[in-house]
């Protein structure tokens, strides 16, 4: 029996979909059988982030409304044969699915998979309630900005109300150089405010954009820092005790010197 993990954030644009894709691919690369569900009905994106947009025949609403079985709607990934995507419907809206249907669906899927990862839409309305309905674990994604942290706090409150206790936090787009200069909240600041367990920190990395442009996941890029960060998170999900990456050395002496004399 697999675990159902919902990836959520409240605020849009903090990296839920990127995180979902990378954790899914990361877990699959460790040999787990993974099913990703895009619960963002009407604004589907997980397909395009994973480079699977041309393979969609059926979608989530087809499955929940009984048009086809979930097996028929699953898209097999190009790179990992144990990674599957259930895409969101693009032409319907969030009310096309209800929490009971999602609960039943995840219940069915998790019998055949090690991990079911649900990519939650932004917001706290029905789309959110659908996405968390069948989950037994939650990962909250935030960035080191006041708006994202505030929304994360609200989401954590709502998750706890729905009995998804002890959600884990992923801080995305961390810029250590700015933290060093006192211009960005540090991990300690964020944890201090939100009072949740930290699952991982993903540094700001251009490689994420480059990979996504191609429909690849940065977790497969061995030389990128963000890829390393995602691999660490995957290992923590699997129960390994992996120390947090030290990203403090980013930059170095000459870069600092350039910054000081204003050459940036």
């Amino acid at each position: 029996m697999g675990e159902v993990i919902v990836i959520t954030s409240g605020k849009g644009g903090v990296g839920k979909t990127t995180t979902s894709a990378n954790l899914g691919a990361g877990l699959a690369s460790f040999g787990d059988k993974v099913c990703l569900i895009d619960a963002d009905i009407g604004l589907r994106n997980l397909d395009v982030v994973m480079g699977l947009e041309n393979r969609i025949v059926y979608d989530l609403v087809d499955v929940t409304s009984g048009n086809c079985s979930f097996r028929k709607a699953l898209i097999k990934d190009k790179r990992f044969e144990n990674l599957f995507l259930l895409p969101a419907a693009q032409t319907k809206d969030k009310t096309a699915v209800n929490p009971d249907q999602m609960r039943a669906l995840t219940e069915e899927i998790k019998n055949e998979f090690d991990y079911v990862i649900v990519d939650c839409p932004a917001g706290i309305e029905q789309g959110f309630r659908n996405a968390i309905a069948g989950a037994n674990q939650a990962i909250v994604v935030t960035t080191p900005e006041v708006s994202a942290v505030r929304d994360a706090d609200r989401i954590i409150g709502l998750l706890e109300k729905e009995d998804l206790r002890e959600p884990k936090l992923v801080v995305n787009r961390m810029r250590y150089q700015m933290v060093k200069h006192g211009d960005m909240m540090s991990i300690d600041d964020i944890i201090d405010i939100l009072a949740v367990d930290l699952l991982g920190v993903v540094p700001e990395d251009e490689q994420v954009v480059v990979s996504t442009n191609r429909g690849d996941m940065v977790v497969m890029n061995d030389s990128s820092k963000s890829g390393q960060a995602y691999r660490n998170i995957v290992r923590r999900i699997k129960g390994e005790d992996v120390p947090m990456m030290n990203l403090d050395d980013e930059g170095g002496f000459f870069r600092k010197l350039r910054q000081i004399i204003g050459l940036k």
């Binding site: 006041v146 706090d153 405010i193």
Partner: protein
């Protein structure tokens, strides 16, 4: 440039991250507490219960609210007292 000098001398206190954290802390006190008016209502009822043991108060004029000023959030209760109870003095005496 001034910012740079501040950084060089390690004047962290007015850095934007300190401001961000402080603002967040305040807004979350409100978010967390202020989400439900029911909570304030329950608090009000409990307050009336406790205070009524000691004095007679005007329940209808009682006001409870969260107030935020510059850098702190306070629970403000305005409770008009109608009369003191005599019995309580003899009990404590």
């Amino acid at each position: 440039m001034l910012e740079l000098i501040n950084r060089l001398f390690g004047r962290e206190n007015h850095s934007s991250k300190t401001v961000a954290k402080e603002r967040l802390r305040l807004v979350l006190v409100h978010d967390r507490a202020g989400v439900s008016p029911e909570l304030l209502q329950t608090l009000k009822i409990d307050l009336i219960k406790v205070i009524s043991n000691y004095m007679e108060i005007d329940e209808h004029a009682l006001e409870v609210s969260l107030d935020s000023s510059e850098n702190q959030v306070a629970l403000v209760a305005n409770i008009p007292v109608k009369n003191m109870k005599r019995s309580i003095q003899s009990e404590t005496a």
